[in-house]
C-alpha cells in the first residue's frame, strides 16, 4: 500500500539506482536509440528529488503529482511524458485507492494511451505490463520482463527505425522501468 512516506522512500531508492546506472542506460540507448536515456532519467530523478524536498507533510496524491511534474518537466524526450503520465494517473487514482496493484494498472493504461504502444513493441510497457499482471511483484518477474525485450523487434520510439536490427538489444526504457520496480520491491510496506 502506497503512503506519502514510503512513496518518497521509493523515489530515493529509484534516484540512487538511476544515478548508479546512468551511463549504462545511455549505453543501452546507443545502438537502438540516441544515447541519452541515462541523462534523461537522471534529470528526471533530480527534478523529482527537488520537488519532493519542497513539500511539507504532503498527502499521497501530492507526492505522486509532484513526482509526475518533476518527471514531465525535466526529462523531455519520449520517456518523460510516459513516466510522467504514469505517475499523473496514479495521482488521480490515489483518491480512490492506495493499492499498488491498482495504481500500476492505471499507470500502465496511461502509458499505453500516451504513446500508442502495446505489449511486444519493445518498450517500457514490456516491463510495466508483466509487473501489472502478476499479483506479487518479484525480482524474477522484473528480470524476465527486461530480458524479454532483447529478442523483440521495436515498433515504437526511435528503435523502430532500425527494424530487424533492433533485435538483440535490451530496451533502455524497459531497463529503467526495471529499476523503478526493484526500488519498489526494496521499499518496505509498499506491496
Amino acid at each position: 500500500m502506497l503512503t506519502a512516506e514510503n512513496t518518497q522512500e521509493w523515489m530515493n531508492k529509484f534516484y540512487l539506482k538511476i544515478e548508479q546506472n546512468k551511463d549504462y542506460l545511455s549505453e543501452l540507448d546507443t545502438p537502438i536509440g540516441d544515447g541519452d536515456h541515462g541523462n534523461n532519467m537522471m534529470r528526471g530523478v533530480e527534478g523529482v528529488k527537488q520537488g519532493l524536498a519542497q513539500l511539507q507533510d504532503p498527502d499521497l496524491k501530492t507526492v505522486l503529482k509532484t513526482i509526475a511534474m518533476g518527471l514531465i518537466s525535466k526529462v523531455g524526450g519520449a520517456s518523460g511524458p510516459l513516466y510522467g503520465t504514469a505517475f499523473l494517473e496514479m495521482a488521480k487514482k490515489s483518491s480512490d485507492t492506495q493499492d499498488i496493484n491498482q495504481l500500476i494498472d492505471v499507470a500502465l493504461a496511461g502509458i499505453k494511451k500516451r504513446g500508442g504502444a502495446t505489449e511486444g513493441d519493445k518498450t517500457m510497457i514490456d516491463v510495466w505490463s508483466p509487473v501489472a499482471q502478476n499479483d506479487t511483484i518479484t525480482q524474477q518477474v522484473i528480470d524476465d520482463a527486461i530480458a524479454s525485450t532483447k529478442d523483440m523487434l521495436a515498433r515504437k520510439g526511435r528503435a523502430s527505425y532500425l527494424g530487424e536490427r533492433s533485435i538483440g538489444h535490451l530496451d533502455p526504457g524497459a531497463v529503467s522501468s526495471g529499476y523503478l520496480f526493484t526500488a519498489l520491491l526494496e521499499t518496505e510496506g509498499t506491496l
Binding site: I72, K74, A78, S79, R155, S160
Partner: protein, 334 residues
Amino acid sequence: MKSVKKIINEPQNAVPEMVDGLVRAYPQYLERIPGSEAMVRSDKDSMIGKVGIVSGGGSGHEPSHAGFVGKGMLSAAVAGQVFTSPTPDQIYAAIKAADHGKGVFLVIKNYSGDVMNFDMAKDMAELDDIKIKSIIVNDDIAVEDSLYTQGRRGVAGTVLMHKLVGAAADQGASLDEIEKLAKAALPHISTIAVALSAATVPEVGKPGFTLADDEIEYGVGIHSEPGYRREKIKSSKKLVSELLAKINQEQHLDPKHQYAVLINGMGATPLMEQYIFSHDLLDQLETQNIKPVFMKVGNYMTSIEMAGISLTVFELADSTWLKYLNYPVETIAW
C-alpha cells in the same frame, strides 16, 4: 577534463547558455520566455490579431527552430536538451506567449518524444481555453511508412512547413485555414539525406555512430538515426542520383508540376559542397525537364556537426504555396 572538442562550458549547460547567447545577440527578433528555454518574437505587435505558430524540438538543429522566429514565420520556438524533445511545460509557455486570441498552431516533427510532449502541452493549453491545432511533419522518406513503426520522421521539410503556415498566419488566415493548408501540403514534401560523418551530443561525448574514412550512409535522420544503406563515398553526381531516385519513387516528379527544392547542410558540410550538389541536382532534374521554381541551399535543419546533406522536394500542387514560400519574413535564418 574536457573530453569533447567543442566550444562549450559544462555540457549540461549547453542549451541554456546557447539560448542566452541567441536572445542577447538578436534582441530585435527574439525574447526569452522567463524561466524557460522557449523564445518568442520580440516584435509583439506583429502577432496581434493573428494565429500563433509554435515549433520546437531538441536542440542541435540550429538555426532551427529559433532562427525562424519572426514576422511571417514562427511566433515562438522551444529548445529542448540536445536531441531531446522539450518538456510540456516549456512548450506550454511558448503556446501562451504565442496566443493572441486566435489560437495557436503547432508544428511537430514526427518523433515519439516530440509528439507526446507537444500533446501534453496541448492538453495544458486547452485547459486555458486556447484553441490549438497541429501538424505532425513526417517528410523523411528513408523510413518505411508503416503502422508497425513510429512512422516517417520529421526532418528538413519541416522548415518549409514553418514558412507556409507562418506566411498564411501573417496574412490573417484562421486556425482552421492554417490546419487545412498544412494538411494539404504535407504529403507533397519529401526529404532524404546522406551522412558523411556523425554528430556528437555534448553530454554524451562520442559520436552517435561511426563511419569509416571512406564510408557514407544514406537515409540517416537528424539525430544520427540509422539509414538504409552504407557504402563507399561516391561522387556528388552519384549521390544526387541515389537521393533523387528515392524522391522519384515517392513523388514521381513530373514536368507538368512545379517544385520547390531545399538543399540542407547537416552542419559540417561546407556550402561549397552544397552548391556542387545543387549543380548536379539541377542537371539531373533537367534531364527530367524539371526546373524548380523555388530553391534554398544552406544549413537550415542541422544535426550538430554531422557532415552530410539532405534533399527536400516539395511539389507546389497549389499555386498559393509558392507565394507563401516567397512571402517576406523577418527572421535570423530564413
